[in-house]
């Protein structure tokens, strides 16, 4: 009655039975995924236009500055998270990695390391290392990433408390903290957005324009089959976890400087916000589907929606409900649409039946 836990990188919950024509399914999904991206972009445009017309302040440059500042850390983590989820894994420890790198950075600053490049390098290395720990547990030991990263979520956050305890480190040079959120000359938008954009292009190219990217999709669809096509599944997944760790650390550096405060509880609960954004972006939790464009649109949409509603005096409680409902709609919506389309198609016998 009991079955051994799934093999390394083994099937995730509820995957469609193997042996189904992958090519046909991918093609169909590309269509659905494309329309989902389009729907997100339309929703984004609608929210911006409606917000600018109906809510005072949305049209102002300051609004966009605040939205950008809020979106940056989530976007930084969502980029690698998208790739991780596309391979059929998940990383819930990202916010704890962010917190731990914040506290380590703070402690090093207290110990007198006053070179910002050194601090950033150490933080990124630490993040990569923490990600590598996740990667080893998942790929070398063959453990489910959901369970592993729930474990490291607790572990890394706990270590953050061990490092700084109840202290907060806040006495960074004002040049660093204002520098981190400084605007692009002539604009109000912070320059960090350029870094995010460059990274987004890098991750986008990696995912959509390289054999590695195609391999990631293959892994998410069927790890077993991916292995036969010559992709080194374990190695690719390992490096994705490392990248996620490093990107979370980068978000941690930004967080520390933006809020001028390193605390053990920095970014607590952010993992759910990131996962919610990635899933709303049309990435399937089972892997194999989703595009970076959709994820970026979703991250921006959530950020703008939140700020517009806040400006429109919508209380925090309602914002929570809306976030949850959006997430549910993002998975239920496409399925309902597909069902309705199938029913319509069956009524018209002339139409060619979809290949099952």
């Amino acid at each position: 009655m009991a079955e051994p836990t799934p093999a390394p990188g083994g099937g995730r919950a509820g995957r469609a039975p193997a042996g189904r024509g992958t090519a046909g399914r991918t093609a169909r999904w590309r269509g659905v995924a494309g329309s989902w991206d389009a729907a997100l972009l339309v929703a984004l445009a609608l929210v911006v236009v409606a917000g600018a017309l109906a809510v005072e302040g949305v049209a102002s440059p300051r609004f966009w500055r605040f939205v950008t500042l809020e979106v940056i850390p989530i976007a930084l983590i969502a980029l690698p998270m998208t790739l991780v989820i596309i391979t059929g894994e998940i990383d819930l420890s990202v916010a704890s990695i962010l917190g731990l790198t914040c506290t380590v950075m703070g402690q090093l600053w207290l110990w007198g390391i006053s070179s910002l490049p050194v601090l950033i390098a150490v933080a990124l290395l630490l993040g990569a290392l923490l990600g590598a720990v996740n990667g080893v547990f998942v790929t070398a030991f063959g453990l489910p990433s959901l369970a592993v990263t729930i474990g490291t979520l607790a572990l890394y956050r706990g270590l953050a408390y061990v490092v700084l305890g109840d202290r907060a480190v806040a006495d960074y040079p004002p040049g660093w903290t204002t520098g981190a959120i400084a605007a692009i000359p002539g604009l109000t938008i912070p320059w960090m957005i350029i870094v995010v954009a460059v990274l987004a292009v890098v991750f986008g190219l990696l995912l959509h324009a390289t054999p590695i990217g195609r391999g990631l999709y293959a892994m998410g669809n069927n790890a077993e089959a991916a292995r036969f096509t010559g992709i080194h599944v374990a190695r690719a997944k390992f490096w994705l976890f490392v990248a996620t760790g490093a990107m979370s650390a980068l978000a941690g550096v930004f967080w520390t400087l933006r809020y001028a405060s390193a605390r053990a509880d920095n970014g607590n609960g952010l993992e759910l916000a990131v996962v919610a954004a990635v899933l709303l972006g049309g990435v399937s939790i089972f892997g194999g589907r989703g595009r970076l464009v959709g994820v970026i649109a979703a991250v921006v949409l959530l950020g703008i929606l939140r700020n517009v509603l806040q400006l429109a005096y919508v209380p925090a409680n309602t914002l929570t409900i809306i976030t949850g409902s959006l997430l549910i709609v993002s998975v239920v919506g496409p399925n309902v649409a597909a069902m309705l389309r199938d029913r319509l198609r069956r009524r018209r016998p002339a139409a060619p039946l979809p290949q099952e």
Binding site: S60, D166, A168, R258, N335, M339
Partner: protein, 355 residues
């Protein structure tokens, strides 16, 4: 796969989705802007009318801030014919608070009354809001003095620490013994300041028989505080008293003690609200505890904000302003306005209060 799904299921599904959405739709609250009512206090004449005074607590859904904002601040704002609002995150995190500060600033708030989740993390946002024309009043938990105009201090750290140590010393009795502190979160600015002062106070010779053996953190979470209280007694068999300078912690500890064999043997004091503590004061678990009146705190903060925005004060030491029914206050060093000494509640006076 989808072809197999029957029509009924699709309809049920659509209904479920609609229900979820409807629930989301009807949950909205009307904006908390209220038209001004006739001024009650004569001293408010010089404060401008129509000021937008916004309260930003550490978190909404917290009874303490409900009392300070909606039962104190709101009354004062109505007295000065201003526009009151309360907004804030549902979890007490500095980053969420920053987002709300930015929003308030864009909404053109004249006064932001804020209880800081972190004394540095919200500084940048407050500075931006001040540049945009808002006056900033902190209450309950302060930021760096450079980031706000005035801080309404519910009670000085020295005052609180001295009162807490005095209460536990009286409760434990002349023989003294081991005591412990049950605090809120490990990062709470005010808690840590009070604990540091309590340690100074305990080092004085008159409290030589009291020995502080542990400080634990209940994270201002009822269940965690309850378990921490339980853990303290398991770890320290000779414990004679607990100080819990947080409303959540002291209520949880009282509830644990009153349902355990330690009731009456281990003394408890702290900062609590009369409504939460009434049952435990009456059943003898707690002899006395202290608190300021949170409604007075919010009330004073609103008046201070009004005075700032009307140019009556600037936050300099020695300036005076009148706060309605509370009378006249003087701005102290570093822009601090002191509400007063903490009030001590006992079995004899607790029924006179309802908050």
């Amino acid at each position: 796969m989808s072809a197999r799904i029957r029509g009924g299921r699709a309809v049920a599904l659509a209904l479920l989705t609609a229900l979820t959405l409807a629930a989301a739709g009807c949950a909205g609250e009307e904006p908390a802007t209220t038209a001004g009512q006739p001024a009650a206090g004569g001293g408010a004449k010089t404060i401008k009318e129509g000021l937008k005074i916004a309260f930003l607590p550490k978190q909404v859904n917290n009874p303490y801030f409900d009392a300070s904002d909606n039962k104190g601040g709101k009354v004062a704002v109505e007295e000065v014919k201003g526009v009151y609002s309360q907004t804030g995150p549902s979890e007490a995190s500095p980053s969420a608070q920053v987002s709300y500060i930015n929003t308030l600033s864009q909404q053109g708030a004249d006064v932001i009354v804020v209880s800081a989740n972190d004394k540095d993390a919200i500084c940048g946002a407050l500075q931006e809001a001040r540049t945009a024309g808002a006056k900033v009043v902190t209450y309950d938990s302060d930021t760096n003095p450079s980031c706000r105009d005035v801080f309404i201090n519910q009670a000085s750290a020295e005052g609180i620490a001295a009162s807490q140590v005095k209460l536990i010393s009286e409760a434990v009795g002349p023989d003294g013994g081991e005591i412990a502190i049950l605090s809120a979160t490990a990062n709470a600015t005010n808690q840590n300041a009070w604990i540091a002062m309590m340690k100074t106070e305990l080092a004085k010779p008159e409290h030589g028989r009291l020995k502080l053996v542990a400080t634990v953190y209940g994270d201002d979470d009822d269940q965690k505080s309850f378990q921490e209280a339980q853990g303290l007694l398991a770890k320290h068999p000779n414990l004679k008293g607990i100080i819990s300078p947080t409303t959540v912690g002291v209520a949880a500890a009282a509830r644990y003690l009153s349902g355990s064999e330690y009731k009456g043997k281990v003394q408890l004091t702290g900062l609590g609200t009369p409504n939460q503590m009434r049952a435990y004061v009456k059943d003898g678990t707690v002899k006395s505890f202290a608190l300021w009146n949170p409604s007075d705190l919010g009330y004073l903060a609103a008046y201070a904000g009004g005075a700032l925005a009307s140019g009556l004060i600037t936050g300099k030491e020695g300036e005076k302003f009148t706060a309605g029914r509370l009378g006249e206050y003087t701005v102290g060093k570093d822009g601090v306005v002191l509400l007063g000494d903490p009030f001590v509640f006992t079995k004899d006076n607790i029924d006179e209060f309802d908050f």
